[in-house]
Amino acid sequence: MANDFSSNVPIYIQIMNDVKLKIVAGVWEPGQRLQSVRDLAVEFSVNPNTMQRALAELERDGLLYTERTSGRYVAQDHQKILKARSEMARQYTDNYYDAMEKLGYKRDEVIYIVTNKLDLIKGEGSNG
């Protein structure tokens, strides 16, 4: 997997975000057993210690849990997963709005662009 690691963010935090994305998007399903740390490290092309640290942090956040004998699993707590999902959504929205502000766009223009985009997606959907 090709990962673009931005330069000033520790790699384990970027991995946390990548993994979180898989969980909140349901690519990794609640209760699903994770591959070994090493296999995941190879998949994400990172050091196994970095992967271990990212997974441990996500465990602390309640998105993963470990069964002493059988390995690590995706949490089954839907409330927590939904909360993580809306946190990420807010983060993406903040980032988008900040970037648009830097480009000099005003509130109304941003709304216009987003609305346009949504209409475009809707149009594509109905054609397909």
Partner: protein, 232 residues
């Protein structure tokens, strides 16, 4: 994680020319460490001291508690900068050679990797491309169950796809009680596999820190820091 290599105030001269000056470092097992620096900065000399191939140095070098010698050589799997495999060997014969020479060589593992990377064990080394030769060599070295892997420029002449394959070989095969030291001047796509990096320049250690510390404290990737430290 325990201290497996410890170097204190290492100095190495070739004649009157000093190539390593006051080098002190420790390496812990369970980690992958990048040894970074421009060509000719002393990376290969430093690795050769650890591998026990350079003996006339000043300072203290401890490999798992002992000075480099017969005992330490058994712990170390070393990938030299230049190949030492006979060009007339077939890949299979190179495996025989490793099996005879190293009791910790896992032939099954090597054969599996040959298959995985679509290398033909019956092909002669000299008829292989440079990238294939480097893969064969790395597979052999990583198929030993060593405590210490010293890899001198394993990514040298490889295209990005092969580089990724080499990194996968390393990630898949080092064990948690071993340390992997990788020297390279091509750091762009490898910094994510390092726990820490040691930057050597002008005979000395300039930076010795974990990748995430560098990112957190300096706000830079290792590549950016490297470019800043070694600005020409």
């Amino acid at each position: 994680m325990g201290k497996i290599i410890e170097i204190i105030a290492l100095e190495k001269k070739y004649g009157s020319k000093k190539v390593l000056d006051n080098i002190s470092l420790t390496l812990e097992s369970g980690t992958i460490v990048g040894l970074l620096g421009p060509n000719g900065c002393g990376k290969t000399s430093l690795i050769k001291v650890m591998a026990g191939l350079i003996k006339d140095y000043n300072g203290k070098v401890l490999i798992d508690g002992n000075e480099p010698g017969e005992a330490s050589k058994a712990l170390i799997s070393y990938l030299p900068e230049k190949t030492y495999l006979s060009e007339n060997y077939r890949a299979r014969e190179a495996m025989d050679f490793f099996e005879d020479f190293y009791t910790d060589f896992d032939r099954k593992k090597a054969e599996e990797m040959f298959q995985q990377f679509k290398l033909d064990p019956n092909q002669k080394i000299k008829s292989m491309s440079k990238g294939m030769q480097e893969k064969v060599q790395l597979i052999l070295v990583m198929s030993r169950r060593a405590k210490i892997y010293l890899l001198d420029e394993p990514l040298g002449g490889l295209d990005p796809a092969s580089r990724k394959a080499m990194l996968d070989i390393i990630l898949n095969n080092y064990s948690e009680d071993s340390v992997v030291l990788i020297s390279t001047h091509l750091i762009h796509d490898v910094e994510r596999i390092f726990d820490k990096v040691i930057m050597v320049g002008d005979r000395r250690i300039l930076i010795d820190d974990t990748v995430d510390n560098i990112r957190e404290s300096k706000g830079k990737s290792v590549v950016e820091l490297f470019e800043e430290v070694f600005k020409c």
